[in-house]
């Protein structure tokens, strides 16, 4: 195999595809590699850990067809470090060389036979506007769990709602939910559970395109974003009953400027070290934030707010609270509470498509 291309083309293809490559401890060494396949001027760059496959299609100056697997991180790092300009890639029996200007690298290749075959599942393709999906992913994916011992929660639930598509993610401490009205990719009452890792890759690509297509198979989903295809296995299992978590009734409601509260939170949290929560003291006077860490010190700040309800203090993990406020769509937000042990609901005052549910920190 032999081809030439611009460094930027190779750099991007390798960095995008390597997000799917297995990191350390892979069962099969070849899964830590990037598969290159050249046919004419079309180069397919694929990373895969079996559960997630990312394939980038790019145009290069092809000279000799062939395939090879390069160690993913190393190849991506090399392409990224090279000066911009032409790169020539040549692959021999068990060695690949990358040359650009005065730089020459040769790399031992991996055996391509064991690399997973790229197969697209059968199913109907649906085209969606990239901006809506990008916003939804941005708001929701971060709330999914990173704990592999509860695989269900590492996924983002895509559910058909009456008038659109719903995204839900929770790590059991907080839950983020976003509706995309007028969007339908699922049949009535259908749900799929997509690994958040795959959606992170998708989300990062959406800035460069106007639309994307989604194809849902039985066990897999394919996202096509421009010249990148993301194939992911779906998570099997029953998602927790998230609807039951959302309280119907909130006796206490706080309305506050989002950025004012964010700024204050970021200051006060400086004194909330380790596992110390930030306390929200809500009264008719407004909102006071407080952090007290034993043997370290304390911080407090008042924030202008409209509060309707009985005097109440609720403590939250500042990281989770900030994460929720940051993705809240309106400039003004409403924080609704029941008591110090029940989840708080955060949403935009105008927007009704987004909701962030956060469990407090119990302080006894």
């Amino acid at each position: 195999m032999k081809f030439r291309c611009e460094r930027d083309v190779l750099d991007r293809a390798l960095s995008v595809a390597s997000r799917a490559a297995a990191t350390r401890g892979a069962l099969l060494q070849v899964l830590g590699g990037i598969h290159l396949q050249l046919e004419g001027d079309c180069l397919l760059v694929t990373g895969s850990d079996r559960n997630l496959t990312v394939r980038v299609t790019c145009q290069v100056g092809g000279q000799e067809d062939g395939e090879a697997v390069l160690p993913a991180k190393l190849a991506a790092d090399i392409a990224h470090a090279l000066d911009s300009g032409q790169v020539e890639v040549t692959v021999g029996d068990n060695e690949a060389s990358l040359s650009s200007g005065r730089s020459n690298f040769s790399l031992r290749t991996l055996v391509p036979d064991e690399f997973p075959r790229f197969e697209l599942p059968a199913g109907d393709e649906v085209t969606l506007s990239a901006s809506g999906v990008a916003a939804a992913l941005d708001q929701v994916v971060g709330a999914a769990s990173g704990d592999d011992s509860r695989p269900i929660l590492t996924g983002v639930l895509l559910a058909a709602e009456e008038d659109g598509l719903r995204f839900v993610a929770t790590d059991s401490y907080r839950l983020a939910m976003r509706d995309l009205p007028g969007t339908s990719i699922l049949s009535r009452d259908q749900t799929v559970l997509v690994p958040s890792r795959a959606l992170e890759v998708v989300g990062r690509l959406l800035g460069d395109v106007d639309e994307l297509t989604i194809c849902l198979g039985e066990r897999e989903a394919v996202f096509t974003v421009g010249d990148v295809q993301i194939v992911t296995s779906l998570i099997v299992g029953e998602y927790p009953n998230y609807r039951g978590l959302i309280p119907d009734d909130h006796p206490n409601s706080l309305i506050v400027e989002r950025d004012d509260m964010l700024d204050a939170l970021r200051r006060v949290r400086l004194l909330a070290t380790d596992n110390t929560p930030v306390r929200l003291e809500m009264s008719s006077d407004g909102l006071q934030l407080k952090a007290i860490t034993q043997d370290i010190g304390q911080a407090s700040e008042t924030v202008d707010a409209n509060y309707d309800g009985e005097d109440l203090t609720v403590a939250f993990n500042p990281t989770y609270l900030i994460a929720g406020l940051e993705v809240c769509p309106d400039e003004e937000l409403r924080l609704e509470t029941c008591d110090a042990l029940k989840p708080a609901v955060i949403r935009g005052v105008e927007d009704s498509d987004f909701l962030y549910l956060l469990m407090p920190v119990r302080v006894s």
């Binding site: 011992s149 839950l175 596992n275 110390t276 042990l341 029940k342 989840p343 469990m359 302080v363």
Partner: protein, 447 residues
């Protein structure tokens, strides 16, 4: 020598800045038993696993006359002294007594760093003006522990933790030719006396010198700490590497600047058990795991702490020991969660060669009173709630009244409380006084 940690700032005292105390209870478990059973006083008493595979957890000084010491196999101990009274351990009770003893220490200073149930470091530099010299405080501590708890302890007073611990060792009761002999009780090593105190001690007395390092030092002709102090630092670094070399050089001079840290009090809560018969079945081991996890979780909740890291310890028949840890996303004090994590670790091991010992522990501890709630907590029938209820029931009706169903196995008699026999199973067939039963609690009523 001015390496006395936090005592540097202390007002000069008669002890020459020696204001770190190491208090070590004398034959703690055995002595606690003797308080409950005064009729056994003067007899050789052993606490520990009484079965074929058990180990001695504590031996009274009368038992030590026979050459018995803790960590010795119970079988060997019995051979050395067939008349010894073997008592199963009662960890819960020792913990209770330990808490009271530590509370006595805290009357003298808030800077108490417990090392285990039966020893602690105290920094009394702040209480000299109020309560007297460190020597006077040490003497008073011994008096109070003796009158309030009926227990003996030995105290080392020195400019730092390392020297204080060495000093308490020298102050302890001994076993002489004619039986147990009282020790000095309190030994003070003042700054000016450090060289002379260390000089004659064997190198094995140095903290961190195990059998291996000891052997290497012996081969180099270095037998005493005094001899070691003559070796230049760079030579020790060449011989033992950067870390150990420097460590040896410093300790040979009595230098130790670790402060007494009360926050270091507990680093982990664990339980382990040596089986009477090697276990090979996964299911069998899982039952054991459930029992031990319940004991660990109960102790965590009693202490108001929770931890993120769950560690499983397995010793196979050939004595190879593996430990595996997993750090959970959030801290736990719930047995079901400990079982969940430790169970996964156990699944990764092959028990078929035969498992001799199983242990489970939780570390990475933090205050459980501050807890990030989960959506699951909205359901009042959570596992944590259930276990808390069990805690309550046990408190009122006794430990053996209730336990998790999976802690019972058909191949075994029911004994839900794993905490009662952390040093190996009791031998039911041998009719020695004090362990006629199998639950580790019988015979105590006579105390």
């Amino acid at each position: 020598m001015s390496s006395a940690g936090s005592s540097d700032t202390a007002a000069p005292s008669a002890e020459g800045a020696a204001s770190i105390l190491h208090v070590d209870m004398d034959a703690f478990f055995a002595s606690v038993e003797l308080v409950r059973r005064p009729e056994l006083r003067g007899r050789p008493v052993l606490v520990g696993g009484t079965g074929e595979r058990g180990v001695v957890a504590a031996a009274s000084y009368e038992a030590r006359v026979y050459g018995i010491h803790s960590a010795m196999s119970s079988v060997v101990a019995r051979r050395l002294c067939p008349d010894a009274v073997f008592l199963p351990g009662d960890h819960a009770h020792y913990g209770e007594v330990s808490r009271r003893v530590m509370a006595i220490f805290r009357r003298f200073t808030p800077l108490v760093e417990p090392l285990s149930l039966d020893e602690a470091f105290l920094d009394v530099s702040g209480s000299v003006a109020l309560l007297g010299t460190p020597l006077e405080q040490a003497t008073e501590i011994r008096r109070i522990v003796s009158t309030e708890e009926g227990l003996g302890c030995s105290v080392g007073v020195a400019p730092n933790k390392y020297l204080a611990k060495l000093a308490s060792e020298q102050a302890k009761p001994r076993v002489g030719e004619r039986g147990p002999e009282a020790g000095v009780g309190v030994l003070v090593v003042r700054s000016g006396e450090v060289g002379g105190f260390l000089e004659r001690l064997p190198v094995s007395a140095i903290w961190g010198v195990g059998p291996r390092t000891d052997e290497r030092l012996q081969r180099l002709g270095i037998r005493t700490v005094g001899k070691l102090a003559e070796v230049p630092e760079h030579t020790l670094v060449e011989l033992f590497g950067e870390v150990l070399g420097r460590h040896l050089w410093r300790l040979a001079r009595g230098i130790d600047d670790r402060p007494v840290d009360p926050a270091q009090s507990v680093k982990s809560v664990s339980h382990e058990e040596t089986f009477a018969v090697d276990r090979t079945g996964r299911e069998d081991l899982h039952h054991e795991l459930v029992r031990q996890s319940n004991a660990v979780a109960g102790r965590l909740r009693a202490g108001g702490i929770a931890g993120r890291t769950v560690t499983l310890k397995v010793r196979f028949v050939d004595f190879t020991t593996v430990t595996r840890s997993h750090t959970r996303v959030d801290p736990t004090d719930v047995a079901a969660e400990i079982v969940e994590t430790a169970g996964e670790l156990l699944d990764g091991l092959d028990p078929t060669p035969g498992v001799r010992l199983l242990g489970v522990g939780v570390s990475g501890l933090q205050d459980a009173s501050v807890r990030q709630l989960r959506f699951e907590d909205l359901d009042t029938r959570t596992r944590r709630q259930a276990e808390r209820t069990v805690d309550e029931i046990r408190k009122r009706f006794g430990k053996e009244i209730i336990g998790p169903g999976s802690a019972f196995s058909s191949s075994d008699e029911p004994r839900p409380d794993a905490g009662s026999r952390p040093w190996g199973p009791d031998n039911i067939s041998q009719g020695h006084e004090g362990h006629e039963g199998h639950e580790g609690r019988e015979g105590r009523e006579g105390a």
